[in-house]
């Protein structure tokens, strides 16, 4: 039992800067557990985003690179083409992936780059103060949608994972969440599957993880989890979106 609660080897013994109840710490740990399970810590190169997870390289104990905001999949493409036998994954938030980096994610998927994308969707820009994200759901108030997100003014939430499904180069897409132990285990399974597909040379895959942001949702951590289960998944249903394996 004591084995199970140890810090993963792939995780540094560091205090994170994340707010109480934030999902990033959980996702970081899930990734580290999968890397440990697959015994690939010494053959992994991760690309961190710009956004709340910009300091991921302070928490992960494997090789990590920075990328300019949204260019994360382009940087991963460069790394993977030179080092095809390493595990290369990006870790991106919704602003990084679905706003400024829309072009890079779609074209990396369309080229069928053999990389993994961990997409953490919390529906706001956390790092800059809770502004509206492309994935902010209708009716949600943010720093830059004070009258809530309205389809006629701010547009609809962008379902980028569903958009990616039409691309033949994209082999596996799944949306998961972190709201209870079962969902956490499910997320871990999805991340593991994405990494395994890459190691087998199967091509591009992405796991979208619905994650809480208590600070900018104005809710406590428990209520944030409840909001995902009761509201967010109505816009972003959980499950496998594409699996061609």
């Amino acid at each position: 039992m004591s084995d199970k609660i140890k810090k993963p080897e792939s995780m540094k013994d560091a205090m994170t800067h994340y707010c109480p109840g934030c999902g990033h710490g959980l996702v970081h740990r899930i990734i580290c557990e999968v890397i440990d399970d697959l015994d690939i810590r010494e053959k992994t190169v991760a690309v961190a985003p710009v956004g709340c997870a910009v300091l991921a390289y302070d928490y992960w104990d494997f090789d990590t690179a920075e990328a300019a905001h949204g260019r994360t999949p382009a940087v991963a493409t460069g790394i993977k083409r030179v080092l095809p036998d390493r595990l290369v994954f990006t870790y991106q938030g919704d602003g990084d992936l679905a706003a400024i980096g829309t072009s890079e994610i779609i074209h990396a998927g369309n080229r069928g780059e053999n990389i993994s994308i961990i997409f953490v969707n919390n529906g706001v820009y956390g790092m800059t103060g809770g502004q509206m994200a492309p994935t902010t759901i209708l009716g949600q108030t943010t720093a830059t949608s004070p009258y809530t997100r309205r389809p006629e003014k701010e547009g609809n939430p962008l379902k980028i994972t569903e958009m990616m499904a039409v691309l033949p180069g994209v082999k596996y897409l799944e949306r998961t969440t972190l709201t209870n132990p079962k969902e956490v285990i499910n997320t871990k399974k999805a991340v593991r599957k994405s990494f395994e597909l890459q190691l087998q040379g199967k091509g591009f895959s992405m796991v979208e993880i619905l994650s809480p942001c208590p600070t900018y949702w104005g809710l406590n951590p428990v209520a944030s989890m409840k909001r995902i289960e009761e509201e967010v998944i109505k816009t972003y249903p959980l499950g496998v979106i594409k699996d061609e394996n």
Binding site: V54, A67, T77, K80, V82, R86
Partner: protein
């Protein structure tokens, strides 16, 4: 064995990169550098390297960022409007100290401008371009041969100092054909160990490549280190060519295609007995301030001619420190300085 053939400047640049060991190229179509992208699409496959036609210039420069951080020699190319898009990536490359080569085959601007040869990106290339306190090395070829030679050299310089290097050419140099000659057995030079590269942390501590330095004073110390490197480059790797400057009373300062026109003027006027010389900077950053200052100390006058409103002119003014001895003749947006006008200006000085 020497091989010799007719090549465009764009293709000579591509071959120079391949001979320097570049095996990663990402680019996006834009005139007047398209021959280079097309050349790399063919040659990279032959050399078992990587060619990617990226979705944008932003993606291309960031693919180079990714390839470079693994230790590979990597290059991208574009022309003026596309180079503007790459500035974000160039700033990150400079901040993260990633060696890389960027080719700018300049065209007319601002905006979409036109597709004629121009030298109006001098400020952008030599004074920053992207955000932050940084420099990149800027090399200025004047012939198809130098498109090959300087691109070949660029990779060794980039690795030596962990810095992006730009080949600043223009549409005329990119498109024109001239004889190109090199040793078929030429090998990559200046290969250095890259213990900083990310390859997976096998048998070593994990490491990061980043430009984000948040701690108190950390970024300032990093920037001070960059400035020390820039001073070292200025001291050791400032390069220029001189023609007939020994006894010259008047010296033309010109780079790239324009230096070729200027050299014709020097030859013509020397035949008339006029003591004219040519100063052709090969590094625009670092700029050869000291050598020009020395030439000015000998009492020479200077005519700066370039395909811009007077961008390199500002560096010559900084070097000479005496505007009364400097004349300027510039053409913009596809205009090419004419021999006849250069000679008139020299005679009027």
């Amino acid at each position: 064995m020497k091989i010799k053939y007719l090549s465009t400047g764009n293709e000579a640049c591509g071959e120079g990169a391949i001979r320097a060991g570049c095996r990663f190229y990402a680019g996006y179509p834009i005139t007047p550098q398209n021959e280079l992208t097309a050349y790399m699409s063919r040659r990279m496959e032959e050399e078992k390297g990587t060619f990617i036609q990226a979705e944008s210039e932003l993606a291309a420069i960031n693919m180079v960022f990714g390839a470079s951080l693994t230790g590979a020699r990597a290059m991208t190319s574009s022309s003026s409007p596309g180079i503007s898009l790459k500035q974000e990536g160039i700033s990150y490359l400079a901040g993260a100290e990633l060696p890389s080569v960027i080719v700018n085959v300049m065209r007319g601007g601002p905006g979409l401008g036109n597709i004629a040869a121009s030298q109006s990106d001098y400020f952008q290339s030599t004074k920053g371009g992207g955000h932050g306190d940084y420099h990149i090395i800027v090399l200025a070829p004047s012939s198809v041969q130098e498109m090959f030679d300087l691109t070949y050299d660029a990779f060794a310089l980039a690795d030596k100092y962990r810095i992006p290097v730009m080949i600043l050419a223009d549409g005329m140099l990119g498109q024109m054909m001239e004889p190109l000659e090199f040793d078929d057995n030429i090998q990559p030079r200046g290969i250095v160990p890259k213990e900083w590269a990310l390859t997976g942390a096998e048998g070593r501590e994990p490491q990061s490549i980043k430009s984000l330095l948040l701690g108190p004073g950390v970024l300032e110390r990093h920037n001070e280190k960059l400035q020390r490197i820039y001073r070292e480059i200025s001291e050791n790797d400032t390069v220029w060519k001189e023609h007939y400057t020994d006894d010259a009373e008047k010296i033309i300062v010109a780079y790239g295609s324009v230096s070729r026109i200027a050299l014709s003027c020097v030859s013509a006027m020397r035949q008339e007995g006029c003591k004219i010389g040519l100063f052709d900077p090969k590094t625009l950053w670092p700029f050869p301030y000291k050598r020009i200052r020395d030439l000015a100390g000998g009492g020479a006058k200077f005519l700066v001619t370039e395909m811009s409103s007077g961008q390199m002119l500002e560096d010559v003014r900084l070097a000479v420190q005496d505007d009364a001895r400097i004349s300027f003749y510039g053409r913009m947006a596809g205009g090419i300085p004419e021999e006849k006008v250069i000679i008139e200006r020299l005679k009027a000085m």
